[in-house]
Amino acid sequence: MAVTPTPELLSAYLDGELTPADREAVERALASDARLRRSLESLRTVSLAVGRTVLAEADRADFSGLADRVLARVPRSPTFLERLRSRWIPVGGLLVAAAAAAVFFLRPPPPEVAPVPSGVTVQSATADGPPEVQPVVMKTESGDAIIWLVEHPDASSGHPPASLQADKPGVQAPLPSQERPKKGEL
């Protein structure tokens, strides 16, 4: 004689959730008990009815715009390009800065500039005050001049400056003396 299964077992049998042994026991009981079969059928009917009724209600629901409403409430996910940009811009910035630094510090040294000859051409020479030395010009045979400066015996006597005659290019006689300040005017 089959043992009548508990109602819980019958419900689980309907759901296919019994162990093989329990399932076998329930099936044996069902085979010999008409009331149990009606109970099972009733359970099945109500289960189906609940599921289909609720789903039928859901069929009448209007889901248009639902995804848009949901997405409007969540932070927008960055697009692929935005993610790429946000991920690589800092790295790119660093790379650019590093490249700029490398260009600055590792640049080849500037080419050597040939020194400009520092020779000057004297256009004029003016003695400021009465000469305290006096040139002695000695002409050589070749036409060159040797200028020898000797201390003037009356360095403080107020003689006008002596004109120097340029004998060679680059040496020029001083310009005519302008009015010189008198002693004590400075």
């Binding site: 009331r35 099945r44 009917t45 109500v46 609720v54 039928a56 859901a58 629901a61 949901v70």
Partner: protein, 205 residues
């Protein structure tokens, strides 16, 4: 062939909006059905659906791929429903508490009567608008925990293991709770449909 849930989840995580829309479209109806079964109001149910998907999107990074997406989604949905029900402050706490012994009596003696009243063909029976309304009324009267497990089971056929995960209860509790939920709906249906409760069966073979 439709893309599986986990692939879509991965795509959403990498910023694919279309993948998220696909997930929403795939589950919106079932989530709504579960929500409606629990909160019993269409407008509230739609709010639940929206809130559930917002929570899904926001916490997708915490979703572990070793679980199924839909059990996780249903768990979030049930929690949102519970929040909605509790926010109402029990304004609609019209659920009927049953004596568990009555459930057993019903299962043993009266389920067959409901079955015959619904008709031999359950497909035809559920098409009857009156029956749909009675079922909605019955669902509205059973306790929240029974409504949740019954709707989850009947809407999407979740296994006992999945129900245990979604509702965070032991698997052993699932079998008992689901039976009591069904028994209560049947009792309410027998009453509302005016089915006389038959005496003990004598046609045992």
């Amino acid at each position: 062939m439709p893309t599986d849930d986990l692939t879509l989840v991965q795509r959403v995580r990498s910023g694919d909006e279309r993948a998220f829309r696909e997930l929403v479209e795939r589950y919106q109806k079932k989530v709504f059905a579960v929500a409606l079964g629990m909160v019993k109001d269409r407008e509230d149910a739609m709010d639940v659906v929206q809130e559930a998907f917002v929570k899904v999107h926001r916490s997708l990074d915490h979703f572990k791929a070793d679980a199924s997406f839909y059990t996780w989604l249903y768990r979030i949905t049930v929690n949102v429903c519970i929040d909605v029900i509790r926010r109402r402050g029990g304004a609609r706490s019209d659920s009927v508490e049953f004596d568990e012994r009555v459930d057993h009596d019903l299962a043993e003696a009266n389920l067959g009567a409901v079955s015959s009243q619904l008709g031999a063909n359950p497909e035809k029976a559920v098409l009857r608008r009156e029956l749909g309304e009675k079922i909605q009324e019955a669902l509205a009267q059973i306790p929240e925990k029974h409504r949740a497990i019954l709707v989850l089971r009947e809407v999407d056929g979740l296994s006992y293991e999945e129900l245990a995960q979604v509702l965070d209860i032991p698997k052993g509790t699932v079998m008992s709770r689901l039976f009591h939920a069904r028994a209560k709906v049947q009792k309410l249906l027998s009453e509302s449909l005016g089915i006389p409760l038959p005496g003990p069966s004598e046609d045992k073979e």
